[in-house]
């Protein structure tokens, strides 16, 4: 541990240091440091169970007792003190178990007590081998049990019991340190577990009326200092000493959380939170922890396939597949590229170069979701090329900000690490505002304030924020913009204008791990890698020189929606598709039609999907565990990682694209990409660097409200005769294909409901049928007190084929009727 750093990263003022003596060693630490952590600084490990640096001290387990012969005032404590609750004092003298018989005996005594009711089932316990109780019983306990020798009878319980579908509790193993209950209350804000009963019968219990429904429940398992909490997913799967651990970065959102992948014989057995104080601290979401089985589902693609003459897909060798793909693309005419938002920055760069150099087009767009041209402009002018090195907003800034405004972003669902950091900040005085249609559970847990806005009215509401002095937006404010704002005309422009007007800082928080990297890599029709505007001749020359081509296409390309339209109309003949699910796109039916209409489809995928079924060439690509790469967080922070496994047959997208490009070049179309490995790409990216020319100018003013198709006013949806305005976003745990394979995880997802106002509920009753232009769905209705009138909310991908495919476009109108009617 290093000296604590303040929020600007500078060392704490030396005058705040307190000097004390621990086991005869003098140490200076910042004031208010706890003795147990001061001891760590001089290399003394005091045994502990309840203590956790990110939880408030509780002093319950009493394992960390030390002798304090001088409290700093010349007087000692008559009794051993819990070092986890005792702050340091100038001149304090502390003797730990290393130098004090009193402390050593006290610790041995507590350890003996802890073990009397602990079962000796270490040989079958998941924690065995990495268990703080086991380890500290060896270091600070006695070898033989006096309890057993004196005929003691242990307390026993039936085991295990379910805390949730995923989290299991063996009560007899529990040492009642309350780490899990404190985490749930203090960190996640989901206090559905609590200690109940008393004495030795005290135990972790659930509240019968509220399930332990938390997106962060897995952290309780990781911080449990014994094997009391286990996951259904990992229980009895392996022993820690059989596992190999590899640090990695979570691929499920744009947070870049550090994780540790534990694997055995080429198979991921579990994932744990890494410890990165600058990013995710020691916490990760349950999705980051448990959702890794997707990579070994039965539909995983393991070899290339090409469309045979009879119309079926048949296995092919890599060289044949490359050749067939290249020939098909060359013959298809103009080709568009849809890389998807799950790529590493290196793979995204490969798509970007592939489009420009091999296909000679700017028709490339990573956005596999509803989008707008306004968003592309926003990304080019406000987002690309920002990062912590250049003063962009970081996690630490969220904690330091006086006010954080969420604009079309639901962090608990979309960016778990941001949610936890904001919740921590809100407990220390940061105010959270949210421009959204209602106060979500996440917002309430952050004690946040709702600024109500119906979908489509965000531009006006955001513009009005500057006027509303009660919100006090200023340079101490951070605006977090969610990707959902792209669907609300004028909203992104309004957000950028608000930032300029108030001096607030702005950051864009996409949902997917690869989104930000794809922006930097130029997977946009208007941007080349490094934030180079396609429209800028100098920028084009820059890139062309690096890539060894004479020129690059000058005209800005088609965005994803336009690529789809052009495929349907025949203007584009071929398409190269990465990890895109048609049901995620703005118009799933149109995307499917485009795939059918395309003369030639090349799919790079992990698993069989609706895209691969339509494809003429299917090229399997490596999951993140099989390749090195870099995710760029929402902050713009690069998060590089190494491969967990080395599977020679598992190729990253960039290698596959390089293969196709080489075959295309052989056909006289374009040039080889000039790289085949991740290292090659990294070198090329470094060589090219960022654009140092002029950034595209931001749009001057928020778009006029006439852009809003439904003509809302003051954040209210007008009471149209044609139904209610549909608000939606994806919940963290839903039907997403990357959560496939862990039923216990999926069972902890929130029940899909349709959120309605009390007035609507009175009319439609407990079950509602929503009907939009793409289908209808029947869901339980739930009253949401502050939902904007005229709005109905449903989760975007928690039922059927999801909202986009099966109901309507977000922000459009749906009819809401009682299901019985």
């Amino acid at each position: 541990m290093t000296l604590q750093q303040d929020r600007t990263g500078q060392e704490v003022d030396r005058t705040d240091l307190v000097s004390l003596t621990i086991d005869g060693v003098q140490v200076s630490v910042p004031k208010d440091t706890l003795v147990i952590r001061a001891a760590e600084q001089v290399g003394i490990q005091v045994p502990r169970f309840c203590d956790h640096p990110l939880l408030a001290p509780v002093g319950a387990c009493r394992q960390c007792l030390v002798d304090v012969p001088d409290a700093g005032n010349g007087r000692g404590f008559p009794k051993p003190q819990a070092s986890c609750t005792l702050p340091v004092a100038e001149g304090m003298v502390v003797n730990t178990q290393a130098t004090s018989e009193v402390a050593d005996k006290a610790q041995q005594g507590v350890m003996e007590f802890l073990l009397i009711n602990h079962p000796l089932d270490c040989p079958v316990c998941d924690k065995g081998g990495e268990c703080p109780l086991q380890n500290q019983a060896m270091s600070n306990g006695r070898g033989e049990s006096r309890f057993a020798a004196s005929g003691g009878v242990k307390r026993t319980y039936p085991k295990p019991i379910n805390i949730s579908a995923q989290v299991l509790l063996d009560r007899e193993r529990c040492v009642l340190c309350a780490r899990c209950t404190r985490f749930s209350e203090q960190i996640a804000g989901d206090p559905f577990i609590a200690l109940i009963e008393r004495g030795a019968l005290q135990q972790v219990g659930i509240y019968e009326k509220e399930p332990f429904e938390s997106y962060f429940s897995g952290n309780t398992i990781q911080i449990c200092p014994v094997g009391a909490l286990t996951s259904a997913e990992y229980r009895f799967r392996s022993r820690p000493f059989d596992l190999v651990s590899t640090p990695a970065v979570a691929e499920h959102d744009a947070c870049g959380s550090a994780i540790r992948v534990d694997h055995r014989r080429g198979k991921v057995m579990r994932r744990l939170a890494g410890n990165d104080p600058e990013v995710n601290e020691e916490w990760i979401t349950d999705k980051d922890r448990f959702a890794f089985h997707y990579a070994r589902q039965a539909d995983r693609l393991t070899y290339p396939q090409v469309r045979d003459t009879d119309g079926s897909l048949r296995p092919a060798s890599w060289p044949e597949a490359f050749a067939v793909a290249a020939r098909g693309l060359a013959e298809a005419g103009a080709v568009g590229v849809l890389p998807g938002g799950r790529l590493t920055a290196e793979d995204a760069y490969a798509y970007s170069v592939f489009a420009r150099v091999a296909l000679g087009t700017n028709d490339v767009d990573f956005r596999a979701r509803p989008l707008s041209a306004e968003e592309a402009d926003f990304l080019a002018s406000e987002v690309v090329l920002t990062g912590p090195w250049a003063g962009a907003v970081t996690y630490a800034d969220l904690e330091a900000a006086r006010t954080v405004v969420l604009l079309g972003l639901e962090p608990e669902d979309e960016a778990g690490a941001i949610f936890l950091r904001l919740r921590k900040a809100s407990g220390r005085g940061t105010r959270v505002l949210s421009v959204a249609p209602f106060s979500s559970r996440g917002l309430r847990k952050m004690a946040g304030v709702l600024v109500p806005a119906a979908p489509g009215t965000e531009a006006e509401v955001i513009a009005s924020l500057a006027e509303r002095s009660e919100h006090g937006l200023d340079t101490d404010t951070v605006l977090l913009v969610g990707e959902r704002l792209a669907t609300s005309p004028g909203a992104l422009t309004a957000a950028a204008a608000l930032a300029r007007r108030t001096g607030a800082r702005l950051a864009w928080v996409p949902r997917r791990a690869g989104d930000r990297g794809a922006v930097e890599a130029g997977c946009l029709p208007t941007l080349l890698p490094g934030g180079r505007p396609v429209a800028d001749a100098g920028a084009r020359v820059d890139a062309a020189t690096t890539w060894g081509v004479d020129s690059l296409p000058e005209a800005p390309g088609r965005d994803a929606d336009q690529i789809v339209a052009a495929l349907v109309s025949g203007e584009l003949g071929g398409v190269v598709v990465g990890g895109v699910d048609p049901d995620d796109t703005a118009d799933p039916a149109a995307t499917r039609a485009a795939l059918r209409a395309a003369r030639f489809v090349v799919a790079l995928e992990l698993r069989e999907t609706d895209v691969t079924r339509e494809a003429d060439v299917v090229l399997p690509v490596a999951p993140v565990s099989d390749k090195a790469g870099t995710f760029i967080t929402w902050e713009g922070r690069p998060r590089p990682f190494d491969p967990v496994f080395t599977h020679p047959g598992s190729l990253p997208d960039l290698r596959v694209l390089a293969g196709i490009a080489e075959e295309l070049a052989a056909l006289g179309r374009g040039r080889p990409l000039g790289f085949r490995t991740v290292d090659d790409v990294r070198a090329r990216m470094a060589e090219l660097g960022g654009w140092d020319g002029e950034r595209p100018a931001p749009s001057a003013d928020p778009a006029p409200t006439s852009l809003a198709p439904t003509g809302h006013r003051d954040g209210q949806a007008s009471a149209g005769t044609d139904g209610m305005v549909l608000a939606t976003w994806k919940q963290m745990l839903d039907r997403g294909s990357m959560q496939d394979g862990d039923d216990a995880l999926r069972a902890t997802a929130r029940m899909p409901v349709a959120r309605v106002t009390a007035a609507t509920y009175d009319v439609v009753g407990p079950t509602v049928t929503l009907t939009g232009d793409r289908g209808s769905v029947t869901l339980p209705a739930e009253i949401t007190d502050d939902l904007v009138d005229g709005v109905v909310w449903v989760p975007a991908n928690s039922f059927g084929d999801g909202v986009l495919a099966g109901l309507a476009s977000p922000g459009s109108r749906v009819s809401v009727k009682g299901a019985g009617a």
Binding site: P57, V58, G59, A60, C61, R62, Q63, L65, P78, K79, P80, T85, K105, A106, G109, V110, E112, F113, L114, I116, N117, R146, F147, S150, G151, G152, V153, R155, V175, L176, A194, L195, I196, E197, R198, G199, A200, L201, Q202
Partner: protein, 450 residues
């Protein structure tokens, strides 16, 4: 009980207990006839600081067991704290043997209510809570009735006696946990959570109930305040000993002829109290049993024996004898009682009441019971006595709060004085005592009637 406790002799100083034998002593009328609530106007005229000063000068020390100077506790309340101040009365009397607050609240609840008003006025609290042990429903009802009477008579509520001082009193029933007698656990309970002690600091005087400055006092401490205001600090401090001023209720229970509450100056001896209580109980043949051991202040205070009969029962005297004055709950045991059996019963109580928060108390009491139970049955060996003492050593001063400490007191003190008796269980192959001999019906033949 009232019959004996109302008895007046030269050594007794009935103040709190003075009216217990009156007709319907618990009513406002009965209390008013004795001058009840007259201290209020006096206090309002003095002002809050003078009330604190008087209580400080009186030398009143907390009657809940720890003996912390009451006036000093009040002066710790930071008056510049913008939060409201609270007075909380600890009426969660649950210590085995302790029976002073409950009879006081039954017989003279208005003494407590008047004390609450005076004390709240002194610390500038406008809300006071009386946290009463949940099991004693009759007492809860009686205090509730007294509070209602006091409201009706204008002793509580807005602008009390025209002084401009407002006070509301809430009578709160506990849910049945010994730990809630620990003041921070009591605050948790009062706030609606499970009763478990809080980490200190912050101390309740700074951040207690609802994170606001809070004074927590025992029933008897608060009930002593009206007499101090009425008769003056000097009157109070003229009683008792040098460092333990005033009077207190001594609750005699067990093997004496007339168990009950005896209110006397601190510093009285058990010998005097047993005399007042008619001596150790008599056998059917008129002979007296002999005192074997006793607790000075409930089961959490180390046992004393007949050699301590002349120990002055004040904080210093009992401390010097190796025990604690505690709550002056004098449980008297004669020679018919098996000390191992008595200690086991107490230990079972602590095991049952341990809140579970900290390891030494939670697990330690679990184990102590098992070790003692085996010893009582004559199982185990002499080494188990050392094991017991070592377990006690690992609990005492290692627990989160004093509950664990209290659990060790009867064990370590009984082994100190009665080691041979423990060993006798081993040599005898079980308890050498006739358990019926210690009962109240020991001189009668009891059997099943066909």
């Amino acid at each position: 009980m009232t019959e004996t406790s109302a008895r007046t002799t030269d050594t007794l100083t009935p103040v709190l207990t003075a009216g217990w034998a009156d007709e319907r002593s618990w009513t406002l009328d009965a209390y008013a006839r004795r001058g009840g609530y007259e201290a209020l106007d006096k206090a309002f005229a003095m002002g809050p600081d003078a009330v604190i000063g008087a209580v400080k000068d009186s030398g009143l020390r907390g009657r809940g067991g720890a003996g912390f100077p009451t006036g000093m506790k009040w002066s710790f309340i930071p008056q510049d704290n913008p939060n409201p101040k609270y007075l909380v009365v600890n009426a969660d009397e649950s210590e085995p043997g302790t029976c002073k607050d409950i009879p006081l609240m039954m017989a003279s609840p208005h003494t407590l209510v008047e004390g609450v008003i005076l004390s709240s006025f002194a610390i500038r609290a406008h809300t006071a809570f009386i946290y009463i042990r949940g099991e004693v429903l009759h007492v809860i009802r009686r205090v509730q009735a007294a509070v209602a009477e006091a409201y009706a008579a204008g002793h509580l509520g807005r602008d009390i006696h025209g002084s401009g001082y407002d006070l509301d009193v809430v009578v709160h029933a506990g849910a049945g946990a010994y730990i809630c007698g620990e003041e921070t656990a009591l605050l948790e309970g009062l706030e609606g959570r499970r009763g478990q002690p809080r980490l200190r600091p912050p101390f309740p005087a700074v951040a207690g109930l609802y994170a606001s400055p809070t004074v927590i006092n025992n029933v008897e401490s608060i009930s002593s305040v009206p007499s101090i205001i009425a008769h003056g600090a000097e009157w109070f401090s003229s009683m008792g000993t040098e460092k333990s001023k005033g009077f207190g209720i001594f609750s005699l229970s067990g093997h004496v002829q007339r168990p009950g509450q005896y209110e006397a100056p601190l510093g009285i001896t058990l010998r005097e109290l047993i005399d007042l209580a008619g001596g150790i109980r008599q056998k059917s043949d008129g002979q007296r049993h002999e005192l074997k051991f006793w607790t000075p202040g409930g089961s959490s205070t180390p046992l004393l024996t007949a050699e301590h009969l002349d120990v002055p029962l004040d904080f210093e005297g009992v401390g010097a004898a190796g025990s604690m004055l505690g709550t002056r709950a004098l449980q008297i045991f004669d020679e018919t009682v098996c000390v191992v059996r008595a200690v086991l019963r107490w230990t079972e109580f602590y095991k049952h009441e341990s809140c579970g928060k900290c390891t030494p108390c939670r697990e330690g009491t679990w184990w102590l019971v098992q070790t003692l139970a085996r010893l009582e049955k004559g199982q185990g060996s002499e080494a188990d006595l050392d094991l017991l003492l070592d377990q006690c050593d690992n609990i005492l001063g290692r627990s989160f709060c004093a509950l664990g400490d209290g659990a060790t007191s009867p064990i370590s003190s009984s082994i100190k004085y009665f080691r041979e008796e423990y060993l006798a269980h081993l040599t005898h192959g079980g308890c050498p005592f006739d358990p019926a001999a210690s009962t109240a019906w020991s001189d009668r033949t009891v059997g099943a009637t066909a």
